[in-house]
């Protein structure tokens, strides 16, 4: 897949679609959550309003260079993750910049944004930021493990690390999806998914009650706007990886919209039912329930 300049506008188009989709999706999901809690919830366009408002706000405050760069790192992480993964299978247009690397690149690039933001938040000097980061890091060590195992199992299954090839192997019917050909791996991955979506019971990182929203505590105005942008891109990008690996990918934007929504909804459904775990509880939970499934999946594969 050699690089051509035309891929840049195509990638930007993907980005544009995903941003809009993400804005609507997150609003919708917040509304669903509110309704489950017998509240009215936000308006469906509320995210647009918030985002525009924050971009419009100006500030004179910075805590230092890393603080300033934190949101940039964060959003670079989200955008990069989205663009390193092909969004629509079989489409030259929407295979984005996936020529740069394979599945491994995507998995490791997840950390780029988190790391940058953690550093930026750290420079603010606010202890809540640091506490949030430690919680997040602690949790991610256990939560990522089942996913890593599942990915390993899947790549063993398809004998490739190329996302495109993995999707290609799942074409030709629902039964070819990894979900059915390798249910253990998918189960492990989906449990891990719960842990990485910042939703209950694994949302101790943001924990509004104890450490008001955790790492981004000190961010406001345009900084916050960049982070909000990321917050709509990043989950979608992540779900896209899941979709590609386990649920047959998407051959068109319609299928994309539906699949991403459904996968996202898994974490929402779980989230509205369970209360929050403390860090050590969630670590134990992952190690006890998710990891064995993952191990089983690679042993069988």
């Amino acid at each position: 897949m050699p690089f051509e300049w035309v891929q840049i506008p195509y990638a930007l188009l993907t980005l544009f679609i995903v941003v809009n989709y993400g804005l609507v999706l997150t609003a919708l999901i917040q509304k669903i959550g509110a309704r489950v809690g017998r509240r009215h919830g936000i308006r469906i366009y509320q995210n647009y309003v918030d985002l525009l408002k924050n971009y419009a706000l100006r500030t004179h405050i910075t805590h230092g260079v890393m603080f300033y760069l934190g949101p940039v790192f964060r959003l670079t992480g989200g955008v990069g993750l989205l663009l390193f993964v092909p969004t629509i299978f079989g489409s030259e247009m929407f295979s984005n910049l996936s020529f740069a690397g394979d599945l491994i690149l995507a998995l490791y690039f997840v950390f780029f944004g988190s790391l940058g933001m953690a550093l930026g938040a750290g420079e603010s000097g606010h202890p809540y930021s640091a506490i949030g980061v430690t919680r997040g890091l602690s949790q991610v060590t256990a939560a990522e493990l089942p996913l890593a195992l599942a990915v390993f199992a899947v790549s063993l299954q398809y004998e490739t690390l190329s996302i495109t090839e993995i999707v290609a192997a799942q074409q030709g019917g629902v039964t070819n999806w990894t979900l059915f050909t390798n249910p253990l791996a998918v189960a492990a991955a989906m449990l891990s998914f719960l842990g990485s979506m910042m939703r209950p019971p694994f949302d101790v990182v943001l924990a509004p009650q104890e450490i008001p929203i955790g790492p981004p505590t000190e961010y406001h105005s345009a900084y916050l706007a960049l982070m909000q942008t990321n917050r709509v891109i990043f989950p979608v990008a992540k779900v896209v990886i899941y979709m590609n690996l386990f649920f047959g990918g998407a051959t068109g934007w319609g299928e994309f919209a539906v699949k991403v929504f459904c996968i996202y909804m898994v974490s929402v459904l779980v989230g509205v039912v369970f209360p929050r775990f403390r860090v050590e509880q969630s670590i134990r939970w992952f190690l006890v329930w998710a990891v064995p499934i993952g191990v089983l999946s690679i042993v069988i594969a």
Partner: protein, 1040 residues
Amino acid sequence: MVSAIFILAIGLGAAFLLGLLRDTWRGLAYALTLAALAAMSWIAGSWLVALAGGLGPVEIRTAGFAPPFAIALRMGLPEAALSLLISLTGLLSAVYMRGTLMRLGRRAMAVLLIAVMALVGIVLTRDAFNLFVFLELTVIATGGLVLLSADPRALGAGFKYLVVAQVISILLLVGVIFAYHATGSLNIDDMAAANLVTLKGGAIAFFLMFVAVVAELKPFPANGWALDIYESAHPAFSAILSAALSAAALIAADKMLSIGGPEWLPVASSLGLVSFLGANILALAQDNDRRLLGYSSIGQVGLVLVVLGQRDILGASTPFIAGGLLLAHAVAKAGFYWLSGLVQGRSLMDWTALRGHPVLIFAFVTFVALLLGLPPFPGFYAKWGLVHALAADGRYLVLGLILLGSLIESGYLMRWFGYIIKRPQVDLPPLPSLSKRAVVLTAVAAGWALGWIWGEISGYPNLLLSIPLLFALGFLFIEWLPAWVKNLVAIAGLGAWFWYTFPGYDPLHLIYAAIILVGGAVILVASFDAKGRRVGFYPPAMLMYAGLSMLILAQDSFAFFAAWEYLTIGSYFLILRGKKSEPHALSYILFSLGGAFAILAGLALGAQGVLPFDVADLAKAPARLAPWIFALLAIGFMTKTAAIGLHIWLPGAHAEAETDVSPMVSGILLKAGLFGLTLLLMIMGKQSLYGIELTYVMLWIGALSALVGNLLAAFQEDAKRLLAYSSIGQMGYALFGLAMMNHLGWLMALMFVINHYIYKSMLFLSVGGVAKRTGTRDMYRMGGLITLMPLSFIAVLIGIIAVSGVPPLSGFGGRWIFYNAIMSSEYRLPMVLIFLSGPIAFLYLFRLIHTIFLGQLKDEHRKLKEAPLWLILPQMLYVAFLLGFAVVPGLALRHVDAYISEFFPAHALIWDDITITSTFGYWSPISIMVVVGCIFAVLFLWLLVLNHRAQKVKQFNIVYSAERPFRPETTHFAWNFFAPYRKALGFMTLPLVTRFWQAQTDLLHSTAQVSRRFYTGNGQTYAVHMLAFAVAVYLIWMGS
């Protein structure tokens, strides 16, 4: 040539002549004594030269009649060497004891002369009864010389000795007369020829003679009397006792063994082993310097006895091996005792007085190295030969016990050295006596000369003549220069050697060579920061580099092992330089030497007695032994890479080392272990032991090391300790990669070799710089330093991105290769641990950068400056290199990739223009860098547009529970950073391994403490011990 009988005649004649002098002419008497000893030495020396030149052994008849009718002496090469040793020791001790001898007068001098004469007599005589006479002369002379001591307790010690000597002489006399009765001759050679032990009554007669002569070796445990003498006698006499008397007694034992024949060899070996092990264990509990040296002497003599007992397999090399051990011991021990006379206190701690006297410290080091058989000293050649012979013949128990004993010995000697360098200095400076110092230095010179001689006759290239070693030793002579000059020389030397050897490397070796030599030079740039002369830094540092550079050039096993020892010793001295590094340096050297012994045993097993042995020939090892060889070597190398279970030395050693030493020992030294493992796996491949594939075990060890190393790193408060534990994890990854035994696994390991060097050197330097400025290594005491030390921050930032494997830096390449590698691996379960440990790295990395550079700046740090330029400079080089390596990893890797294909053709990578393709996936470092860079730049510009007027606000301008915090200490979240994580996984950080090793050392120490009660101090009890020893030997011999 003057007849050797004149050695005896001169000694005696001079002693008698002394009696003619007036008691007041003490100066003349002293001069006569020295002249006589010098003449004796000269005769012995001229014989030694002649015999070494090819002259055969010469028989000297007395009274003009042939043996057995008259007493015959023999002067052969061993006799000449030992005669020279004895007379020189006597001469030097006489010089040393000038004051005492002058005070006590001619009688004391006569006794000394006679003692030396008698010892030479023991060496020369071939007559059993004459041996008895000379032994008794020695006993009596000893009884007299003990009295030279200023210590009133010596009197009791001398009496105890006489009591025991009585028992011994009774046994010997009875034995001699019955041996005479059985063979009709008193000549030792006749007794041997007549096969005394097979004659009627001869066996018991021999037993009595043998046990009596062995008793003169002060065998453990029947040796309480000897220890008391060692402790209380004049040090110069203890030197004679330890060096000369031991040598004489050993040659007497050798003569006995020549009579006893093969049947008695195992008995000698067992007695020697018991002595060697027992004495060394008991020495562990000693606090008195001279008593400790006494135990060590007994151990060493035991070791030589073992060698004599192994002569059935050592054959013609017995004199070389036994002589090497014996002479090294004698010179070292004499030197030690002479040195002890300069030290005024008698506790081990009192030797701290030597600190600040580099020459005396050098003497101490030389003696320790001689005793421990480190290269380039004779003991090294000797142990090498001994171990190979034992291994070739399947005497594994003997081999194992010898190595164990040596390890214990190095334990207490190295511990002692640590005390000297690190413990609070006592207020008793060493005596200023010039003559005494000259004597000590003569011993040092003798030690090195012996090293050279043994190198010449070893049949190997002389270790002392290798250029890197000479270069390192050369720094001893320019210690007076300022540090920066020496640093320049060092850097130039490394560079020149790299230039010189460059054409000879294949890609694999080139990577290691570049890291060691070029990388070493870069780290040395940081050493320009040191002020003053920095005495004691360059010799060990360059010794380490010499060892490393010789290691990668080594072809045969001997050169390999010698290089391994050099780098171990050099790095030990380097590590010991750290402020609080004493216990850690000790545990480092013990683990390292233990590992080295495993390597030695492995190589010896592989060689099967064929020397010189090309390391590559390990591939041809017999199938029965191959897995064991593999296991031994792997354990040895894994000790150096600090694999889990053998890792407990690393954190302290690396953390407590000096700022520029930490990167050397972490970034470079650890690679020695990896190099060894690479070679081992390349040569021996997969091996199975009892059906378990050993590489699979290594895979698990690697994975566990990665996990535990990372996990422990996350819980450290000390920044350098954190980095040190991280090294354990990183080495675990590399080990894991190698153990996968496939193409990509190896590539990954080599990538780790490069990466780890760069980022660990860089991180140690930046953290070291910060620690230097803040005066602490505790991260929670730091914070907010980003604005004050931006360059250090950048280095750490780039470093942690690279370590964590986050794209776009080079660490990701390692991860990518890793995933591709495990895809082609047969084993899956150990991967789980690796997967788990990966994210844990984020924990400690974030902690490192956050708690040091981010968060709240402390009040006391507000005026700190950036780290010194010389520390920053190499860091910036590393940053540049890391970025470069991230973009074009192929520059280094593709050659290695091609090289590895020779061994593992499958799954080689394809290096296209910008994309690297494997069987499973692809990776384009340049694209990643460009894409990430562009996105980042665009977003950054956008933020600038939006927020270009942002101003930096004050530290406490944050939203904080409606309060304004006012103390950075309370607001900096840093201590116990991962408390919840500890709650969840803390059980995995229990120091089980530390406890295990602690239990082992405790066991040894309590054994020593309990057993030494055995030496009640009662002379009568000692005599009972002696008798019990004899009866026990009898029973054992009867039983066998």
